[in-house]
C-alpha cells in the first residue's frame, strides 16, 4: 500500500515537473501557448516547446533514472550504501573516455553506437574493474578501500580529463560541461541515444533483481540457493557501468544522484531489489528533472547542474558518513 502511494506521488511529481519545464524558460510562454500547440497545432512556439524544453526535460529524467539505477545496482553489488557511479569512479572514467574521443577527433558510429559512448563505456568499465580489483585484499573485500580507491581513481581520471581540455583549449565551456554536467544543449538525438539502453538495462536489472536479493546474503549462500553468482555479478557490473557511461556521454558528470537517491529509496521501501530498481529510477529521474529546472531558472543564464546536485547531495553524503559506526 505504501509503495502504491509513493508511486502515485512520484507520477504526479513527474507530470507536474514536465509541465513546469515546458512552461518555464527565458522566452515567456503561458499555458495558452502550449494549449494552442497541442490542440490547434499552432507552430509559433513548436521548436521552443518540443525541441528545446521537452527534449531537455525528458533527457534530464532519463539521465537521472539511469544514474540512479546504476547506483542502486552498485549499492547492491558492493552491499554498501556509499557506492554510486560517481563514488566508485565510473562517472569520471566515462567522462575521461568521452573527452579522449573528442581529443582524438573521432566522430563515428559503429552499429548504432557512437564511438564516444563506446570510449566512455570502456574507460568507465576499466576504472570500475580496477577499483574493484584493488579493493580486494587477499580475497577479503573492504568497503573503506573501495571508497578510497574509487575516489582516487576518479580524481585521476578527472585530472586527465582537465589536462586534455587544457591542451585542446577550445573553450572553458567544454571543461564546465564535462566536469559539472549540463542539459543546456539537449536534443532528440541524445534521447534516442540513451532511451533504448536505459530500457534494456532496466529490463535486465529487473529480471535479475531476485538474484541480487540473494547476492546480499553472501556469494556462497546465493550459489547454494541456485543463483549463478559469477554470471549475475558480471552482468550487473556491466549494465551499471553502461548506464553511467551513456548518461555521462550526453550530459557530462552529474554527481550524487546515483548515490543519494537509491539510498533514500532503500530507507523508504526496504531492500527488495525487485522494487528498489523501479523506484530508484523514477525518483532519480524526477530529482534531476527538478534540479535541471533550478539550474536553468535560478539565475539569468545557466548553472551547471552538477552544482545543484552537489549542494543537495553533499550534505546528505556527510550525514551518511556520520551515521556509520
Amino acid at each position: 500500500m505504501k509503495k502504491l502511494r509513493l508511486l502515485l506521488v512520484l507520477l504526479i511529481l513527474l507530470v507536474a515537473g514536465i509541465l513546469i519545464s515546458l512552461l518555464e524558460g527565458p522566452v515567456e510562454t503561458n499555458f495558452n501557448d502550449l494549449w494552442n500547440l497541442i490542440i490547434n497545432n499552432d507552430s509559433t512556439f513548436r521548436t521552443i516547446f518540443i525541441d528545446l524544453r521537452l527534449s531537455r526535460a525528458l533527457l534530464a529524467f532519463l539521465v537521472g533514472a539511469s544514474l540512479s539505477l546504476s547506483g542502486a545496482i552498485l549499492q547492491g553489488y558492493f552491499q554498501n550504501p556509499m557506492a554510486g557511479p560517481f563514488v566508485v569512479g565510473v562517472s569520471s572514467g566515462a567522462s575521461f573516455g568521452a573527452v579522449l574521443c573528442i581529443y582524438l577527433g573521432l566522430n563515428l558510429r559503429i552499429i548504432g553506437f557512437s564511438v564516444q559512448s563506446i570510449f566512455a563505456f570502456a574507460s568507465g568499465f576499466a576504472i570500475v574493474s580496477l577499483v574493484y580489483l584493488l579493493s580486494q585484499r587477499k580475497g577479503v573485500f573492504k568497503v573503506e578501500t573501495l571508497l578510497l580507491t574509487g575516489i582516487a581513481a576518479g580524481a585521476l581520471a578527472s585530472a586527465l580529463t582537465s589536462f586534455m581540455i587544457f591542451l585542446k583549449a577550445d573553450s572553458f565551456e567544454q571543461a564546465v560541461f564535462w566536469l559539472l554536467g549540463s542539459f543546456a544543449l539537449s536534443d532528440w538525438n541524445q534521447i534516442t541515444a540513451v532511451l533504448p539502453y536505459f530500457f534494456l538495462c532496466f529490463i535486465i536489472a529487473q529480471w535479475l533483481a531476485k538474484d541480487m536479493n540473494l547476492l546480499v546474503l553472501g556469494d556462497d549462500v546465493a550459489q547454494s540457493l541456485g543463483c549463478p553468482v559469477s554470471g549475475v555479478r558480471k552482468t550487473f557490473l556491466a549494465i551499471s557501468t553502461f548506464l553511467a557511461a551513456s548518461s555521462v556521454s550526453v550530459s557530462g558528470i552529474i554527481g550524487f544522484v546515483g548515490l543519494i537517491v537509491p539510498h533514500w529509496i532503500r530507507i523508504l521501501i526496504g531492500p527488495d531489489h525487485r522494487h528498489l530498481f523501479l523506484f530508484s529510477s523514477l525518483t532519480g529521474g524526477i530529482f534531476l528533472l527538478y534540479s535541471d529546472l533550478l539550474a536553468r531558472t535560478l539565475l539569468h543564464g545557466e548553472l551547471p547542474i552538477g552544482i545543484i546536485t552537489a549542494v543537495v547531495g553533499a550534505p546528505f553524503f556527510i550525514y551518511l558518513l556520520s551515521q556509520r559506526k
Binding site: 524558460g25 527565458p26 522566452v27 521548436t47 521552443i48 525541441d51 528545446l52 524544453r53 583549449a169 577550445d170 573553450s171 572553458f172 565551456e173 567544454q174 560541461f177 543546456a184 544543449l185 536534443d187 538525438n189 543564464g301 545557466e302
Partner: protein
C-alpha cells in the same frame, strides 16, 4: 502585413531570378557547411562583438535583431535584444527572434554550433584567422551573405588605404622594439603565435616577446619576462582608470624593476575593445600601436 512580405519576397526573388538565372546560390561557411542564399536577410543575429561592429559598419544595424551581451559598439548595439554570451548562448531567445541569418565564429563552442544547425537555423560560421588581413576577408564574407557586397568592398577599400598609410609611415623603421603585451586578467596574460594580436604587433614593427610560443593565449612566466627584457609594455585595458591600476602594479613589482620598459617608463595603454576584436576597429588599434612604438614617424601629425 503578410501579403506585403510575400510581395517583397516575390519581387526580390524575381530580381534574383534575373541575376542568377533562377537559382538559389549555395556557398560554404568556414566550417565547410553549406549556406543557402535566398533573399537578403532581414533579421540578423550576431554571435560576436566584432561581427556586430562589421554589420553596423555595413549599415545593416537596423536589420540586426539580436547580439551578445558583449556587443557594446556602436552604442546602438546596446539596445538590441541580448541572446547570451559568446559561449553561453540562449537557444530559446535565438529561436524566438526568428532570425533569417545567424553569424557565428569559431570561438562559439562547436557543441552550440552543432545544436543550432540541428535546429535548422540559417547559420554561417566564420573563421577569424590569425592575422590582420583576415578582417578584410571576414568583412567581404559578411558582405556576401548579407548581399551587401558593394558596401563591403567600400569598407575594405577604406580600411586598406589606412593600413597602407600606416605601413608607409613606418617604412623606414630601423629598430623593432621588443614588446610585452599584457592582457587584462590575473597575472601576466599575453598572446602567442596563433593570435592576430601577435600579427598586429609585427605589422606595427614591433617584436612580441611571446610571439614564438605556439599558443593563442597564455600565462607568461615571470622569469622569462625578466630574461626577455621588453623595451615596451602594452597594456590592453577597458579604460584609462583600469590601465593606471595595472601600470601602478607593474611599476611597483620589485622583481620587474630592472626591465627596460619599466626603467624608461614605456608602459602604454591600448583600448582592449579595439585590439581584441578582429573587426574594422583593428585598424584603429594598428595605427595606435604604430604611434606608440615609433612616435618619431608620426611627429608632423601631432
Amino acid at each position: 502585413m503578410k501579403s506585403k512580405r510575400i510581395h517583397a519576397v516575390f519581387l526580390l526573388f524575381s530580381i534574383n531570378a534575373v541575376l542568377l538565372g533562377n537559382q538559389q546560390k549555395t556557398i560554404k561557411d568556414d566550417l565547410g557547411f553549406p549556406f543557402v542564399m535566398t533573399s537578403p536577410p532581414q533579421r540578423i543575429i550576431s554571435l560576436a562583438p566584432n561581427i556586430t561592429e562589421i554589420l553596423f559598419d555595413l549599415d545593416l544595424g537596423e536589420k540586426v535583431v539580436g547580439v551578445t551581451r558583449y556587443c557594446d559598439f556602436p552604442e546602438k548595439a546596446l539596445k538590441k535584444e541580448k541572446i547570451g554570451g559568446l559561449v553561453d548562448l540562449n537557444l530559446e531567445k535565438i529561436i524566438a527572434l526568428k532570425p533569417d541569418l545567424i553569424i557565428g565564429f569559431r570561438g562559439n563552442p562547436l557543441r552550440i554550433i552543432e545544436r543550432l544547425r540541428g535546429l535548422h537555423l540559417p547559420l554561417f560560421v566564420l573563421e577569424m584567422g590569425t592575422n590582420l588581413e583576415t578582417v578584410f576577408i571576414v568583412i567581404e564574407k559578411i558582405g556576401t551573405i548579407t548581399q551587401n557586397d558593394k558596401k563591403a568592398d567600400i569598407l575594405v577599400e577604406s580600411l586598406k588605404k589606412r593600413y597602407d598609410k600606416t605601413q608607409a609611415a613606418i617604412r623606414d623603421v630601423q629598430h623593432e622594439p621588443r614588446v610585452f603585451l599584457s592582457i587584462h586578467g590575473t597575472g601576466l596574460w599575453t598572446c602567442g603565435k596563433g593570435s592576430f594580436l601577435n600579427d598586429l604587433v609585427g605589422k606595427a614593427r614591433g617584436v612580441n616577446i611571446a610571439g614564438k610560443i605556439p599558443r593563442k593565449w597564455l600565462h607568461y612566466n615571470r622569469e622569462q619576462l625578466i630574461h626577455d627584457n621588453p623595451e615596451v609594455i602594452i597594456t590592453l585595458s577597458k579604460s584609462q582608470t583600469e590601465f593606471s591600476k595595472v601600470r601602478e602594479w607593474i611599476k611597483n613589482e620589485a622583481h620587474l624593476k630592472g626591465i627596460k620598459a619599466v626603467e624608461s617608463d614605456r608602459i602604454y595603454f591600448l583600448d582592449e575593445n579595439l585590439a581584441t576584436r578582429p573587426g574594422p576597429r583593428l585598424i584603429d588599434a594598428l595605427e595606435e600601436l604604430a604611434r606608440i612604438l615609433h612616435p618619431q614617424f608620426f611627429k608632423e601629425e601631432r
